[in-house]
């Protein structure tokens, strides 16, 4: 496990510390608020840093207790902008100098009597709501057309409203109106047991069920200081890679759909189905649910002897399939130079996972901050520099390969032994858990009350980060490429909206 240092800091010094951390090669990961006691709110800022001398990675968490308005840090670290707006909506904290001073998570027209994450806001009372108009750039030129698309869109997809400003084929601006699906998941953890928390975490983002539950469990384990048995840690990594596998296969099938490769789409989705059937055969769930509990696994698995052969068969089919994709000009023509995300924008705006790695940023939590069984594996992190849709596809194709290789290695190394240890976080403890989900970095911050049950859970999902970045690749592009570009990002809405 990486080290985590928690430092109390005066609000006035925070901007300088954040700037210094970034100058030294660190990066902000998230910010959130919570109430240590009902009368006092506290802000937390989480940064990842690398000690240049020892190449040792760690996390720094700054905590500060604001009084009144708070200085926005969006000009120092732009990716913090969305976190500040979320804190404003859900906790009522005002940020001064925020470049986008509009609500983000709560739609215009909501009128909660108290901010919904305030401890006095009851768990089961709905906010009053009357649909209203959202903040939107003003248009002066009458040739510019406005196209609202969604939230109910064509095909079986998640709900999001995409508002385009365009002239002819040319997109000037994209404003994705997210959070139609905001369910208030973070508040639902409050006052709940750990077993309940796992069930919730598994249902924050269905196609990231395992990564969410894993980050949640690891945060609880850190708070409790319990040690997960080696067999359970290795099986956790194995299951996490199976999750990556079916997600990436779905991604390829969907991308082929947008470049109108009918057989390519069918084959990708068939391979995804095979991977999901393997999940069910191993765990009883196509989404790898019902396996995790703080302290280990709920029950042992028997991946031997069949899983290795099943994956090798699948690997050969995937290799044939991806070689076909990579040799199809009509497919490549639509991907190369489409939706370019520059390295600097990816870094500043907080791109994560395959998206940042396709833009030349060499980061992966599995290698940089090892957890579960990853400390015992050598981890290859594919990185591309061109930042276009093709690079995003290539990174995922390479990750499929490394995932299967890792699973095979884990099957060889898998020791016998127990899969569960007792794990009970003490009262007033806290923990930070993370996982490199198929879509990128995922964090859970847990705080326990004086009765030892959950009092605050913050979820930082990868899609929250990548949705923030995505419009930067759409501005100044064309309509024809939009669907391909969106597919190349592989976003989920549920994870972002929570």
């Amino acid at each position: 496990m990486s080290d985590i240092e928690i430092l109390r800091i005066d609000q006035a010094r925070l901007a300088d510390e954040v700037a210094r951390t970034i100058a030294e090669g660190g990066r902000m990961q998230m910010a959130y608020a919570w109430y240590p006691n009902p009368g006092q709110i506290e802000l937390r800022y989480v940064a990842s840093r690398t000690d240049s001398g020892t190449a040792h990675h760690n996390f720094t968490v700054w905590k500060t207790s604001p009084r009144g308005e708070v200085q926005s840090l969006a000009s120092v670290s732009p990716l913090l902008g969305w976190y500040e707006r979320e804190i404003s909506d859900l906790f009522g904290v005002k940020f001064v100098g925020q470049p986008e001073p509009f609500s983000l998570v709560l739609h215009q027209g909501t009128a909660p009597p108290l901010p919904p994450l305030h401890p006095s806001y009851p768990a089961d009372v709905a906010m009053p709501f009357k649909p209203g108009l959202t903040a939107f750039p003003e248009i002066e030129n009458e040739d510019v057309q406005r196209l609202p698309f969604g939230p109910v869109r064509a095909d079986v997809v998640e709900s999001v409203e995409l508002v385009f400003l365009y002239v002819g084929e040319h997109i000037l601006h994209l404003n994705p109106q997210l959070f139609f699906k905001h369910r208030g998941m973070e508040k639902r953890f409050e006052g709940r047991s750990l077993a309940y928390g796992v069930v919730l975490a598994e249902r924050v983002s269905g196609v990231g069920s395992f990564a969410h539950a894993l980050a949640f469990c690891q945060a609880a384990e850190q708070a409790a200081g319990c040690v997960v048995p080696q067999r359970a840690r290795m099986l956790r990594s194995l299951l996490a890679e199976l999750e990556r596998l079916y997600n990436h296969l779905h991604y390829l099938g969907h991308l082929a759909h947008t470049t109108t490769l009918k057989v390519g789409e069918a084959e990708g989705k068939l391979l995804e189905e095979r991977a999901k059937q393997i999940n069910a055969r191993l765990t009883g769930s196509r989404f790898l649910r019902g396996m995790l509990i703080p302290g280990g696994l709920r029950h042992d698995l028997t991946p031997k002897p069949w899983l290795s052969d099943a994956l090798e068969t699948l690997r050969e089919e995937i290799a044939r399939y991806t070689a076909q994709l990579e040799g199809t000009n009509s497919h490549l023509d639509r991907l190369i130079t489409t939706g370019v995300l520059k390295r600097q924008a990816a870094f500043d705006q907080g791109a994560t996972g395959p998206i940042e790695r396709a833009s030349g940023i060499d980061r992966d939590l599995r290698r940089d901050h090892p957890y579960a069984g990853y400390g015992d594996l050598s981890i290859v992190v594919p990185v591309k520099n061109s930042g276009d849709a093709h690079a995003r596809e290539q990174v995922r194709v390479a990750e499929i390969d490394t995932s299967i290789a890792m699973i095979q290695r884990l099957l060889l190394l898998l020791p016998d032994g127990p899969v569960r240890a007792t794990c009970a976080p003490p009262p007033l403890s806290e923990g930070l858990g993370w996982a490199e989900s198929p879509r990128g970095s995922l964090y859970y911050a847990l705080h326990f009350g004086d009765d030892g049950i959950l009092s605050r859970v913050k979820i930082k999902s990868p899609s929250f980060s990548n949705w923030r970045v995505f419009p930067f690749t759409v501005h100044d592009s064309n309509m024809m490429d939009y669907a391909i570009n969106e597919a190349s990002f592989g976003l989920t809405v549920a994870g972002c909206d929570r």
């Binding site: 768990a123 709905a126 369910r183 208030g184 508040k187 249902r203 989705k269 989404f287 076909q324 549920a494």
Partner: protein, 272 residues
């Protein structure tokens, strides 16, 4: 230059022969898939309260029966298939099952009821759907799901399940839709778009609550941003709980809706 058509042809037929005339042991793709637990309420004499307390969604409750003893009550419309009760309930009152999620026409058929004998009380559909038995067009609306339901709905059109072969299609426009298939607990922000999609559908039109969230709110029931599913928002013609329902169960529920197969469950139990 790859020849995709040839590539596809050499792959052979990928589609499952289910549901057809084939024997029951064919590969339907649902091997080892855990379903909603089966309950034997009479076996739970002591410790029933633990059984109910562990359920995250209140699907299991304890009520005193006539003799004043605790008796388990189960509402499958709230079950999220987490299997916690199987691990907790004493005396095998809750057991692992591999039952597929089951679709029903009446919400009450998801509530465990010993007085109902499955297979006998099957009600005929209230209205004839004769014009739609061979072809159905579905408009899907995501009203705040976790994307698990969407993942399984998208799977229906993969070559393994190949929903088209059964005459069932997803359509982009509600104007062409016969059935509105809704996922999620219906968040405050999706209520209005959901109503507008329904209003845009021509009559006759039907509504399906797909997944436990749409049936009852599931794990997201009654928060500051959520409702408790479709009941009270739209008239529901078909309920299919599950978290998420497995693909074969969706197909079966849709065929049931079209009167092409009988409803399997009554009173929360499957007919054998």
């Amino acid at each position: 230059m790859p020849l995709w058509t040839l590539f596809g042809l050499t792959q052979g037929k990928a589609t499952t022969p289910w549901p057809g005339q084939s024997p029951r042991n064919i590969n339907d793709g649902q091997d080892n898939l855990l379903g909603m637990p089966r309950f034997k309420p009479e076996r739970c004499e002591t410790g029933c309260a633990e059984c109910a307390a562990v359920c995250p969604t209140g699907a299991i409750t304890v009520q005193p029966d006539q003799s004043g003893k605790d008796r388990l009550e189960v509402d499958y419309g709230r079950c999220v298939v987490c299997q916690l009760c199987v691990e907790t309930c004493p005396n095998d009152a809750a057991n692992t099952s591999f039952d597929w999620a089951f679709g029903v026409r009446e919400r009450s058929d998801l509530v465990l009821n010993a007085a109902v004998t499955p297979g006998i009380d099957a009600k005929a559909p209230a209205e004839s759907r004769n014009g739609f038995r061979r072809s159905l067009h579905i408009r899907h609306v995501d009203a705040g799901s976790c994307n698990g339901c969407e993942s399984e709905l998208q799977a229906l059109n993969n070559p393994f399940y190949n929903l088209h072969r059964l005459g069932i299609f997803f359509t982009p426009s509600p104007r062409f839709a016969d059935l509105l298939l809704v996922t999620g607990p219906v968040t405050y922000a999706m209520r209005d778009p959901l109503h507008r999609a329904y209003e845009a559908m021509p009559e006759p039109r039907w509504v399906m609550a797909y997944g436990t969230c749409a049936v009852s709110g599931g794990i997201a029931r009654d928060g500051y941003a959520c409702g408790s599913g479709l009941d009270g928002i739209l008239p529901v013609d078909l309920y299919l709980p599950g978290c998420p329902p497995n693909p074969a169960a969706i197909i079966e529920a849709l065929l049931m809706f079209l009167d092409r197969v009988p409803q399997r469950a009554q009173g929360g139990r499957l007919g054998e």
